[in-house]
Symmetry: C2
């Protein structure tokens, strides 16, 4: 008995029959005595179809107008789901992001949630209604509709769970939990029963694709018990909580990978204290996500910097670099595409310094060239050729024995 | 030079190419020095497709949820149109109904506009932007999204024209003006260059389908110069203004017709002062539109009442009548479907009492049975068998010489 926030992604509400399935799940929760808030995405490929419509008009839609367009997708799902619940004789109400009180930054396409005024949701819950909220959207203080970016419905769900002090936030998706690596590509992948926020964060950031990283951060900050589970079965999923029990001793808990990476190297930059901030704030203000960053050993007055980006941002990145040359002179730009990022993640690494070395050894033994390396306390990432990505993951999965429940220390 | 409100219906924005055409028309207006507000409907069959989605879920969607669903259609159009304008290098902003300050009654599916707070629209116009507003929708005082009912985008446009004190409100549609009757069915139909609000109101009410009647009422009340014209040509359309000049002497200016009419007759009702209000307020509160009403000569204590409804409301009407029998006893209900309404409209009728008789004579001569009659100062309506509808219109069009510019008095 408690307050549950359930989030359903695009494939979970992909057609009318699936929406009816979701309504049954919500009704079961109400019948079990729970108060229920559902957060939903746009149906299946709706968002892509809407983006497709813009292609005939412009190659660079204004982010504000794109948000106006895309947010209709979630609104459609909320209305249909509410109708399905009402058809079964239960009470419900659909709310857009702004009706649910979700306030965001004025940063169209990638806004963060600033605050949630939960008055209206609480009122509808008190009336005994199932509250259905459009994910991925909110209202700016200029009263414009903004989106949280792709995957933002996860964040909506967790933020609502925090605002309403919900007992649990359940993310329903087309996979049945968090795996040691992506089971679509690696047969040996195994489902984890628990994982810590930090490990999940690294896996999400590194492209595991199950949960939006902001959602995990939000859950960690507000200590929201998260569960990732399948919308198509009743199997338990993976619990994400402060300290993952049971399998905690595993040094490496999961492998993440991400394709379409491009490495940029800029040589001959002035070796000054302002170089890094000038470079990366220019990239950031143009919405370019920079991932791995390496500053090379510098000569006397100049330095070289390498960083990785999504290949889709290459043109824009070169454009920005070209424009900033007046204030930030450099010699040359090199770029290399068709790369991928392969990472190992696990809290156990903190006390186990040899893990990175073990990773490099495995890749080297399998003839996989490492282009860049980046490490944090609980992960090691490498940039490798894209055509070796899956091979690298399979080799590492095998080496760290992720298909077995044996802690790696015992090897 | 002035402030123009231009409204584009579903076929005018039916695909991306048509949306681009609309953007060019708006840009021409701006280039000519005008301030421009555009009101748009959902693209083509979007509304029907959205309604289609509900069919797999429920046969009786809650009107509130249906409004949440349907209003996304116009929002999509506003965003795409704004992108098309911006792509051409002009400034614009898309607004939902609530963002444009449109406040409505809490009567989902058929709400009336109560007020427009035009602050935001004025601000954007002052910034030099083309303002694009989603038609057909507004916000209730419970902060729910409500629609104005089908055709409500016309009303949105006229209401905005009134609120902004616009110089002109232009309704762009798939016909090039107001005709003596529907040119899709009657070859002899002729375009009128002007028509009065009252005549247009009767034509709109009677199903001419070019303009939503509420829009005409609104225009009449606020004395807005209206023009109906084609979105596909540059031909002048039909002007709707207080006194139609030129052709004013025509006794009959247009013919309207409407199919799918059902006649209901209730016999044995108590002959009391409360009978009519009880009966028709019950029907109204269930959203049933009653059209022609006839109270027959009564016997001592009982009376018979006949009225016409849309055939689609038959089931609901019988249901309501069944329920009110406890407070309003009656003997029998008869109903007859497959009927149509055929009407003649013209301001000149006020001073020409023989016109109704002339209409009945024509119908009779052509063997068309008249089931009901209703008259106002400027129209005469008859209910006739549906399979004789077009034949009746053709006969009347010919009789009143509407295909010629000769006033009928000269015949």
């Amino acid at each position: 008995m408690g307050l549950r926030v359930l989030k359903f992604g695009g494939t979970s509400v992909g057609d009318v029959e699936k929406i009816k399935n979701v309504s049954r799940r919500l009704i079961e929760a109400v019948d079990a005595g729970d108060e229920v808030v559902a957060v939903v995405s746009a149906m299946g490929k709706t968002t892509d179809e809407l983006v497709g419509l813009t292609k005939g008009i412009t190659t660079k839609p204004s982010p504000r107008e794109l948000d106006m367009l895309l947010t209709t997708g979630e609104q459609v799902t909320t209305a249909l789901l509410s109708m399905a619940i009402q058809e079964a004789g239960y009470d419900s109400v659909s709310l857009t992001g702004w009706q649910a009180g979700i306030k965001t930054e004025t940063f169209h396409g990638n806004a963060r949630i600033l605050d949630i005024d939960s008055k209206r949701m609480n009122q509808h819950l008190a009336e005994g209604k199932i509250v259905i909220v459009a994910g991925f959207q909110g209202l700016t203080d200029t009263t414009d509709i903004a989106t949280l970016g792709r995957g933002g419905s996860d964040t909506t769900a967790v933020a609502i769970a925090a605002a309403l002090k919900a007992d649990r936030c359940e993310i329903y998706t087309d996979v049945d939990g968090v795996y040691t690596t992506d089971p679509r590509y690696v047969n040996a992948a195994r489902k984890l029963s628990t994982i810590s926020y930090d490990e999940m964060l690294e896996l999400a950031n590194l492209g595991a694709g199950v949960l939006h990283p902001r959602a995990v951060e939000f859950a960690k900050n507000y200590n929201i018990l998260l569960e990732v589970r399948s919308s198509f079965t009743n199997e338990p999923g993976t619990l994400i909580e402060e300290v993952a029990s049971m399998e905690q001793n595993l040094v490496v808990r999961g492998l993440a990978f991400e394709s379409n990476v491009t490495k940029i190297t800029i040589s001959g930059l002035p070796n000054e204290i302002t170089t890094l901030p000038t470079l990366f704030s220019s990239l950031a203000s143009n919405g370019i996500n920079v991932d791995v960053i390496i500053q090379s050993t510098s000569e006397k007055n100049t330095t070289s910097i390498s960083f990785s980006i999504e290949t889709a941002s290459l043109e824009l990145t070169l454009d920005v670099l070209n424009r900033i040359k007046v204030k930030l002179p450099y010699n040359n730009i090199f770029h290399e595409s068709d790369l991928a990022k392969v990472s190992i993640v696990g809290s156990g690494m903190i006390s186990n310094p040899g893990v990175a070395a073990q990773m490099f050894e495995v890749l080297s033994e399998h003839g996989i060239e490492i282009k860049m390396v980046s490490t944090s306390e609980i992960k090691v990432s490498t940039i490798v050729p894209q055509d070796k990505m899956i091979y690298a993951i399979e080799s590492l999965h095998d080496q760290f024995q992720l298909d077995e429940r044996k802690p790696v220390e015992q090897v």
